[in-house]
């Protein structure tokens, strides 16, 4: 019955997505939200984390698929696992920490103990289960997961296409994104966690919205030196937004920062002189100084991967739907594994400057998103417009539809994927 209801609700939601606009009710209808968890989050590849977050045997972190708690763990053979965080006995979570190292996961209720691969290892008074079940049938539920260039995704959809096929045109951009380790493997350095009282799709739209930047982030731009402020003045530049298929899109704001391994001979900008000097003092040779300084910026693009992560210039922005009107967000800071300390330190300071609940950028984003949620309740009927630049498209070198940097091409790409998934009648 519930499934049937979800199906008709999902079709209703799908009909609210038109080519250049979506109905405002998609932000506030609780039944639609429940259907989205099923039709979107349980039916696609969902970003779980980065491999470097579980670097060693025994490392783990907790994460979510939609609203469902999971654990990303690395076992003794260094294999990754994505496990449902639910004891097979009576359903308690077996891990409540955000991250850590452990040899096993033990349910606090009756002491069932699971290995890092989810296998049930031991339980008190086991003899009472003799002839009832085999321990091997009572592992923590393993989700199918695959990794691309360090990014770990999991899915509840058993017959889904391979991750690489799902990422498709986005793979090239992931390859470019991970270059910001500055010649070192990309590494998670820490994260900011915050939430806002609004629907998850408001956040999904934001990372492919260049149009808001000079307005919402005026106070951030004012806090930059002139040279850097010029870099962020990109609305009249050569940037673009490209629909990469499957709901993914890339918004290139600063084209000259697309490939961080190019243009390594350019002079070091004023704002990175101090970093360059620190690196030299650490004994770093000049070619590497140049490479690290260029990588310190981060990339000049946001890669939006439907439905829950953006590789956003210098960090991962991961969204989690909590309720129809609440969304949790993680801003994950990145650096280089084994890179000089001064480099990672600079990356962290730049992250803190804009990102997170106390950054100079995010609080103003949060204010705008909150206003969207509040305002969208007004009136019995109304639409959210995503048709900016819809008549000014061109074909990208990869033969994808692309628009100007401040077009809403990426939002339309995400919503068309959303529409497709919500109207799907396929069984999982």
């Amino acid at each position: 019955m519930l499934e049937e209801n979800n199906l008709s609700t999902a079709c209703r939601a799908a009909s609210m997505v038109e080519e250049g606009r979506i109905h405002k009710q998609l932000y506030s209808d609780e039944a639609i939200f429940e259907a989205e968890l099923d039709k979107v989050f349980n039916s696609t590849w969902v970003f779980i984390g980065h491999e470097s977050e579980v670097p060693e045997a025994g490392s783990y972190k907790t994460a979510w698929v939609g609203r469902q708690p999971v654990i990303l763990s690395r076992d003794r053979k260094l294999q990754l696992h994505v496990l449902e965080n639910r004891c097979r006995h009576r359903g308690a979570t077996v891990c409540e920490k955000r991250k850590g190292k452990s040899k096993s996961f033990t349910c606090p209720y009756h002491g069932w103990g699971y290995g890092l691969d989810g296998s049930l290892r031991g339980l008190p008074k086991e003899e009472e289960y003799k002839g009832v079940f085999a321990k091997s049938d009572m592992s923590l539920v393993n989700l199918r997961h695959e990794t691309y260039n360090g990014l770990v995704f999991a899915t509840y959809k058993k017959d889904i296409e391979p991750l690489e096929d799902f990422l498709g045109g986005a793979k090239k951009w992931i390859d470019l994104f991970v270059k910001q380790g500055g010649g070192y493997p990309l590494k998670v350095l820490g994260e900011h966690r915050f939430n806002f009282p609004g629907n998850w799709k408001i956040q999904l739209e934001n990372t492919t919205d260049a149009y808001h930047f000079p307005i919402v982030h005026k106070s951030f731009i004012s806090s930059l030196d002139d040279q850097t402020a010029d870099i962020f003045d990109f609305l009249d530049g050569e940037g673009f937004v490209e629909d990469l298929g499957n709901g993914h899109s890339v918004m290139v704001m600063i084209p000259e920062l697309t490939d961080l391994e190019e243009n390594l001979d350019e002079p070091i900008p004023e704002r990175f002189q101090k970093l360059a000097e620190e690196l030299r003092q650490e004994g770093v040779a000049e070619p590497e100084v140049k490479r690290l300084v260029r990588a310190a910026h981060g990339t000049g693009f946001n890669l939006n991967l439907f439905p829950n992560v953006s590789c956003s210039m210098a960090f991962f922005r991961v969204l989690r739907p909590v309720s129809v009107s609440e969304t949790a967000i993680h801003h994950v800071a990145l650096g280089g594994e084994g890179a000089p300390e001064a480099f990672n330190r600079k990356r962290i300071r730049l992250h803190e400057h804009f990102q997170g609940p106390m950054g100079f950028g995010t609080p103003d984003d949060g204010e705008a998103w909150e206003r969207v949620q509040k305002g969208s309740i007004a009136g019995p009927d109304g639409w959210i417009m995503v048709n900016r630049g819809i008549k000014n498209l061109h074909q990208s070198p990869d033969n994808n539809p692309a628009g100007e940097v401040c077009s809403e091409t990426g939002m339309r790409a995400a919503y068309q994927q959303y529409k497709k998934m919500m109207s799907s009648t396929e069984d999982k």
Binding site: F194, F196, S223, I348, H353, P357, E367
Partner: protein, 160 residues
């Protein structure tokens, strides 16, 4: 425990003064309370001690403090304009260490913010390193350990 009531009173007076300045958005005067080398730190992980090499919510040296104040004051930030006010309580003040030139203090703070008609409360443990100088105390370090850090914050456009 050896009690130094006079020190506790002078430290409390200074910290209440700081709290009053911040609740009344007297940010320029607040900037004067700092040493040049001081850091205003809001960690992103409560068990972290190496603030320089880890991700914080705020890690402001002198320059960043001035930029943060400028952002809150220049009218360009829409979220800063939405803060109708904060009221903070500080209590449980304890002198942890005291020498001729420095005092380390730990206290409990609850900051209340009214935002879009919703009351948000931030309980925190705050650790201070105060340098003694001829014209009173100067803040050498202020670390604000928010209980919310373990979970999720709302966005913040004021100074803790």
């Amino acid at each position: 425990m050896q009690s130094d009531t006079q020190l506790l009173i002078s430290v409390s007076e200074f910290l209440w003064y700081e709290a009053d300045l911040l609740d009344h958005k007297s940010y320029q005067e607040w900037l004067q309370l700092w040493t040049k080398t001081g850091f205003y730190i809001v960690p992103a992980e409560l068990d972290e001690t190496d603030y320089l090499n880890s991700v914080n919510l705020a890690m402001d040296d002198d320059e960043m403090r001035q930029l943060r104040v400028k952002r809150l004051e220049n009218g360009e930030s829409v979220s800063a304009a939405s803060v109708s006010g904060t009221i903070r309580m500080i209590s449980r003040i304890r002198i942890v260490e005291s020498s001729d030139d420095q005092v380390k203090v730990r206290l409990a703070m609850t900051l209340n913010e009214m935002r879009h008609g919703v009351l948000v409360t931030y309980p925190a443990e705050v650790e201070y390193t105060l340098n003694r100088s001829a014209d009173g105390f100067k803040i050498e370090q202020k670390v604000v350990k928010l209980l919310h850090t373990e979970s999720y914050l709302r966005t913040v456009s004021f100074i803790f």
